[in-house]
Amino acid sequence: MLAEALDHLVRGIVDNPEDVSVKERTHRRGSTLRVRVNPQDLGRVIGRGGRTATAFRNVMAAIAGSDSVRVDFVDGSPQ
């Protein structure tokens, strides 16, 4: 549910929504969400001074409730 929510929120703001993917890894005390976006959209999802990345993290933390959630953004260009 967390990954799906973040996927929706990220797709809505990027120019290349088809290149967005979110992988969720669960640990004992929470989870890590790794977001891959088109390299051209990386700046947009991070934002000036990390402002947009912080907004994503705040919203995801609120949805996760008491579970801890980590959100990473990575360049999703083909290797």
Binding site: A55, N58, V59
Partner: protein, 187 residues
């Protein structure tokens, strides 16, 4: 496309009835501006509805235009259910507004000043701020001295400036974020 159709029908009306032309043009210009804001509201509503569906929360979405801005409110269906999307001091709401503005900007091609409210949080905060502004206005009048308020965010300062102006006094913001505050001057 629309413009083409419009000028054709205008040309027709010039011949048929000269008087009807002017009001029609005015109406079209006005509705173009507000229809842009309605598009902003619709885009925001889709974005937020999609989120609510995924996280399985109920909310009614109201779309409005206030002071030349799109205003979107997510209204609670079950009391307290959306509190997590407001957060402490509206921190989560501000983050959600930020993301919603970006989603709208991508759709309309320019920055959006859309205002988002969730569970009436901003509406209630606005009332509190109007009370604060009213008592500061009274204090400035009585003491004939400037009154300095606590630091506030941009939305809060705007509400205070509007309330002070309505009361007929002047106010200015001083300091820099996040410690920016409003100073109200006696008339």
């Amino acid at each position: 496309m629309t413009e083409d159709t419009l000028s054709k029908s205008e040309a027709g009306e010039v011949v048929a009835n000269d008087d009807s032309l002017q009001p029609n043009v005015d109406q079209t210009t006005k509705s173009d501006e507000s229809s842009e804001l309605v598009t902003e509201g619709d885009t925001a509503a889709d974005y937020l509805e999609g989120l609510l569906d995924i996280i399985d929360l109920d909310g009614d979405i109201d779309i409005d235009v206030e002071n030349d801005r799109a205003a979107v409110a997510v209204v609670e269906v079950n009391s307290g259910e959306l509190a997590q999307l407001v957060g402490e001091d509206g921190k989560v709401l501000d983050a959600l507004q930020e993301l919603t503005r970006l989603a709208v900007a991508r759709e309309v091609g320019h920055r959006s000043r859309l205002m988002l409210d969730v569970a009436g949080f901003r509406a209630q905060r606005r009332k509190e701020l109007q009370r604060i502004a009213a008592s500061a206005v009274a204090e400035a009048r009585a003491a004939q001295e400037p009154v300095r308020l606590d630091s506030m965010n941009a939305f809060e300062r705007k509400v205070v400036h509007d309330a002070v102006a309505e009361a007929g006094l002047n106010s200015e913001s001083e300091g820099s974020d996040p410690d920016r505050y409003v100073v109200i001057s006696p008339a």
